[in-house]
Structure formats: C-alpha cells, structure tokens
Amino acid sequence: MVQAVNDGLKSIMREDDSVLVLGEDVGPKGGVFLATEGLTSEFGEDRCFDTPLSEDGIIGVGVGLAMNGMKPVCEIQFQDFIFPAFDQIVSEAAKMRYRSGGQYTVPMVIRTPYGGGIRGGLYHSQSGEAYFAHTAGLKVVVPSTPYDAKGLLISSILDPDPVIFLEPKALYRAFREDIPEGMYTVDLSTTRDVLPGDDAVIFCYGAMVPVATEAARRIKESRNKDARVVDLRTLMPLDEDAVLQAARDCGRIVIVQEAPRFCGYGSELSAMIAEHAVEYLEAPIKRVTGFDTPFPNTLENYYLPDARRVTDAVEEVLDF
C-alpha cells in the first residue's frame, strides 16, 4: 500500500503543479516509510521538502499554503505525533471556511500512518480517528487496499476541504495488488462491500478490514453463514445510508476498530443504528475494539482485535 500512496502522490503531482508535499524527512530520505520516496528528486525541493521538527508548523504553514492557491499534502510522521498540531487542525483547518463564510478555504490533506501492528508501543500505534471524525469541518479517510489508497488519496487532494488521510501502517507492506497507472479516483463518502452476506454485517476500516474478512471466511466455513463485510473507507462524511441499509439487511451487527472502545468511532455507528434501525436489530450490536488503555508494546497482539475475537463476536450475534 505504501507504494500506492507514493504512486498516487506522483500521479497527481505530475498533473497539478499546485500540489506540494511537506513534512519531517519527506525529502531525500523519502519519509520513514518511504511513502514520499523519489518525490524530491522528480519534483524538486520546491515541491517536496523537509520541514523542521514542528507539527504545528507543518499544519499551520500548510493551512497558509492552502489558503493561497496551493494544495499541500502534509505528512505527520506518525499519527501519534499529530497532537502538537491539534490546535491548527481543529481550530483552524476545520473551521476556516465556516468562520470566513467561504472567503478562505483549506484544500489540504494530512497524511499520516496510524494504528498498530509494528510493535510500536504507546506512541507508534495509536488510532485517533474518533478525535477527527468528531470535529466538524474535517473529512476523515482510511483506505484498506492499495487500489483505494491511491484513488482515495487523489480524491482527497482534489477535495476542496481538509482531509485527514489515515494510512494503516500495518498494511503498508501487507500484500501486493496491481493498480492502474496514472490518475484515477475513488469517490469519498462511499463504502465498499468486501464480502456479500445477509446473516450478519461486520463494519470495519483500515487494518481491521483483512481481520474482519478472515473472520467472515471462518464463519462461512464453520457455519455456512454469510457475514457481509463493509469497509467504510470514508469515516466523515460517512455514507450513512449504506451503513443503515446494511444494518437493516442483516439485523446482526459487529463493529470492529483498533482504537479504544469508549467514545470510539464504533460508538457512533452503533448509536446511529440504535437511533434509525433499532426495529431491525435481532441481537445486541457488538463492538470488537482495542481496550480502553494506552497501547502496549510486548502484548500488542493481545490488545489488537484479531480474526478470532471478531469470529467470536459474530458467533455471538448469530446465536443471540
């Protein structure tokens, strides 16, 4: 997937001169995950440049660039390090259009690797999507395949509003997929049905998509039941109709996220369904999530939801 990100950046930078990439180590080094490899050599230091160690500066300067005609793609090295820039994101990028009545806008993308799976411990593993999805004015996008990563990234860069683009680092090198060359887009605010099914539905995103898919496969095998797997892809604005339709179709619902459960993204999905589709529910809405603790290191594998934990949850809603 990291190559798809790289390819997406190159594709749009070739077409659109106003796309700039900035962040820590994104230049000659090509980023700590090599997502920006080759950009400085192809496009020059003008268009892909290293910044000082200041997330507040990266985003604050990015907001300024965006207001004056550029389309900055800011990299935050790990999502865990986005908090020094939280004020610029939440108070500024998210609210600029609103507070200026549209006079000033922030067509900016903030790319950042997020989530567990690399033995990163407390500060190289976190999943902060709920913070951003709760912040009106931001869009939040999470790809789970190379194809989507490229297409959604290009759509995000073309989008007139600030997008938090969360890249599941556990999937950076997880599998290969041939993807089209050059420009293509995947529409924001659309979900993707990974597997069809009507017996239950698993909502997921990011690195939990392969986990959920494996769980659905196991359920099929052990019970011959079809669990639909829905990859949300855009968390905000969410395609709520698609979510509610799937909930109504299946009546048995499991939500999977890596992040801590309490006030996590899955809470919103659950609440939305409990508000608009409660009559269709045939079982409690189950959430399979990270625990409500900081992210551990040695015991990472026991913290993160895995196929077995998801399978158990699906069985529970099927058996209810």
């Binding site: 700039l20 003008d46 910044t51 000082p52 200041s54 507040d56 500066g57 985003i59 604050g60 300067v61 990015g62 907001v63 300024g64 660039l65 965006a66 207001m67 004056n68 005609g69 550029m70 900055p72 020094p84 004020d87 610029q88 108070s91 500024e92 600029m96 259009r97 609103y98 507070r99 200026s100 009545g101 549209g102 006079q103 000033y104 806008t105 009106a136 004015g137 869009k139 007139p160 509003d161 605010s189 604005p237 969410l238 709520e240 109709d241």
Partner: protein, 386 residues
C-alpha cells in the same frame, strides 16, 4: 549573532532594544521622516481618527447592550495604521490578530462591513458565526479571517508567503500579534519556518504592555520582544508604536527586504492598551492608573496631529472636521448594521464543507422544520423576518 537589519535611515542608527522614533510625544520631529505625500499623510491621519471613532462607537454599542463584545483599540492606532500604510494591497496579505481595526479601516473596508461583523448580521462576512471583532475580508485587501485561539495566524502567514514565493509573486504577508502571543506555539513554529525558508513575511508584535492582566515581565524574561528574532535567525527591531511615521518606516523597510528576497523581519512596536482588554475586563484591578495618565501623554493621534499641523500639512479645522466626520460615519454605520436581519437558520449548516453533506442536510431540515413549527421567528426557508 544575527546582525540587525541594515536600515536605510540617514541620521539614525539604533540597536535592537532602542525604539525608533520619528515624532516625539509632543509632535516634534526627532528623526528622519519618510518621504510621503500630503494626501498619504492625511489618509493615515484620517484612518487613525476613524479607527478611534469605530472603537469608541463599539464601546458605546456594547455598553448599551446592542452588541455583545468589543476590544478597545484606543492607543494603538499608530501601530495598525502605520503598518497598513506600508502595504501594497494589490499583492500583499495580512494575517491579523483582533486588535488592529486600523488596517481594514485604512484600506477601504467600509465601516458598515465592519459593523456587520460587530452585530453578526446577515451581511457579516463571518455570517454571524464569530464573535464581534473577528473580521474576515477578501477585498479590497486580503485580510485573513481572525481566530480567537492566539498565534495560529503566524505560521499561516508563513504559508501564505511561501505560496507567493513559489508563484513568483512579489507579495509579502504581514502578520500581527500581541506581546502575550509570542508565547504561543504559532509564534515559535511560524518564526522558525520563516527563518528556514526565508519567507517574505513581516512579523509585527504589538507590545501593548499586557496580555489581559498579565504584564510583559510575567510573560517572558527576554529583554523586549525584538530580541526573540535571534532564536530564529530573524533580525528584530523595535519601534515606538505610538509614532505612526516610525511604524510606517520600519514596516516599509521590512517589506522591502521581504520583497527583495532577503527574508523575514520581526518588529516590536511598543505601545499601550488604553483601556481594558475587552469590554468584559476591568483593568483597574491590575493596571496602575498612573500608567494611563503617562500613556495619554503619548497619544498617537494627538502626536500626529501636532506634527501635521506644525509641518503645515493639515489645518486645525481640517483635523476637527475629520473627527466630526469620522464619528458621524461610525454612528451611521452602526445604525445601518443594526437594522439588518440576522443570518438565516440554514447558515448554521453551510460552509462546514464546500457542499452540505447528507447528514448536515438532514440536521438542517430538522432545524428548519422544528423551529418553524415553534413559530419562533423563522419562516419555512429558515429565514428570520426582519
């Protein structure tokens, strides 16, 4: 150590903590004045007087309960107007803080547009979403939307300026902020990025002695604010912020440097907040009244008036007329803005994104339906009757 800017003053050389002054508090010329046409000087004077009149009108509107809030600009008119006069608004942008009425006023933003913001009415460019004094204008000058969180405009100014540089534009970005705001993250990151990239930015720190009730000594142990530039490789200079010509001169030089690709400058304009922090504040709790007396004697408007009249650029009657006109203008603007309706209900939901997404459409429909059914002053389009 960073060398101070090579100022092109004929008769003056000054260190970083010695403030440049051209007109002394009595109006006497003590430095080499910039060559400015009489019309330009009068435009500056007029803007200062109009700034005070706007300020004064807003204070009255607040006291009579017509608006909710304002921030006194009394005493800092020279800083705002001197800086404004140095800008070329065909290319330059401003990333302002909230205490700078003089900049839009100088550059021809209509006083009623500013009053629209004070009332948060239907014509307010912030659509009644912000508190008063949080202006946003995109013509005739690019005057970035003012934020409440302090210092955030500073790195934004750097980004705006970097975009100019990339687009090979000749513009610069002026950003203004208070003494207290030098402690924000935005100051630190903005200054540093500007230094590293040599961005065409002018940093104007309005040192008015206080951040609400916190005096500058409790704000920082540095010797003034201009010296803070050194930490970022940015030259810093200090100017008498109550001397409009000195401010004009220093900002002009800094702009010239920036336009010539010589990088950013930090300017500390030393002035004083002749009032409370805002209409919610009572400065008598923490400011020595003697301070007000002293600074009254350094009034930027009185000083400039004395200078202009003694130099024969303005007659006393002309000055009196400017004041009367300005006060009438602001009173009329307030009346006009007050008479306008509030924004329609659907404006709660627009401009969150370029397009209103389905979930906000649904919330908007709910709100319009709900409040209409209550007959609470909204019609079915969500408009409030006058």
């Amino acid at each position: 150590m960073v060398s101070p800017v090579a100022w092109s003053f004929d008769s003056l050389s000054f260190g970083m903590s010695e403030a440049l002054q051209i007109i002394d508090p009595s109006g006497k010329k003590v430095g080499s004045a910039p060559r400015l046409k009489k019309e330009a000087l009068l435009a500056m004077y007029r803007a200062m007087v109009r700034t005070r009149a706007f300020d004064d009108r807003c204070m009255k509107l607040q006291r009579t309960g017509k608006i909710g809030f304002s921030v006194p600009n009394k005493g800092i008119e020279a800083t705002s107007v001197g800086a404004a006069a140095a800008l070329d608004i065909t290319t330059d942008w401003v990333a302002p803080h909230y205490r700078d009425f003089g900049i839009p006023i100088f550059h021809g933003v209509q006083s009623v547009e500013m009053m629209d913001n004070m009332f948060g009415n239907v014509d307010d460019s912030a659509v009644g979403r912000q508190m008063p004094v949080h202006f946003s204008f995109d013509r005739p000058l690019k005057y970035l939307s003012i934020s409440s969180p302090l210092g955030t405009q500073i790195p934004q100014a750097v980004g705006v300026a970097m975009a100019m540089k990339r687009q090979k534009e000749l513009g610069i970005c002026l950003t203004t902020f208070g003494d207290g705001s030098t402690n924000t993250l935005g100051f630190h990151s903005g200054m540093n990025f500007a230094g590293v990239y040599g961005a065409p930015v002018v940093f104007l720190c309005q040192n008015n002695g206080w951040a609400i009730s916190c005096p500058v000594e409790k704000q920082t142990a540095s010797e003034g604010f201009a010296v803070k530039g050194e930490a970022y490789g940015i030259p810093g200079v200090t100017v008498d912020g109550n001397d409009v010509l000195a401010v004009y001169r220093v900002v002009s030089e800094a702009i010239k440097r920036a336009r010539a690709g010589e990088g950013p400058t930090l300017i500390e304009a030393v002035t004083f907040r002749m009032g409370g922090h805002s209409t919610s504040d009572d400065p008598s709790k923490y400011v020595d009244p003697q301070e007000f007396v002293e600074w009254e004697g350094r009034c930027p408007i009185r000083r400039f008036r004395a200078y202009l009249t003694s130099e024969g650029k303005m007659a006393e009657e002309e000055a009196d007329a400017i004041k009367v006109e300005a006060e009438a203008e602001m009173m009329a603007a307030a009346k006009e803005a007050e008479a306008k309706p509030v924004p329609s209900l659907d404006t709660i939901f627009t401009d969150v994104y370029a397009e209103v997404p389905p979930h906000l459409h649904a919330q908007s429909d709910f709100a319009i339906g709900h409040y209409s059914s209550r007959g609470e002053g909204v019609n079915e389009k969500g408009e409030f009757p006058l």
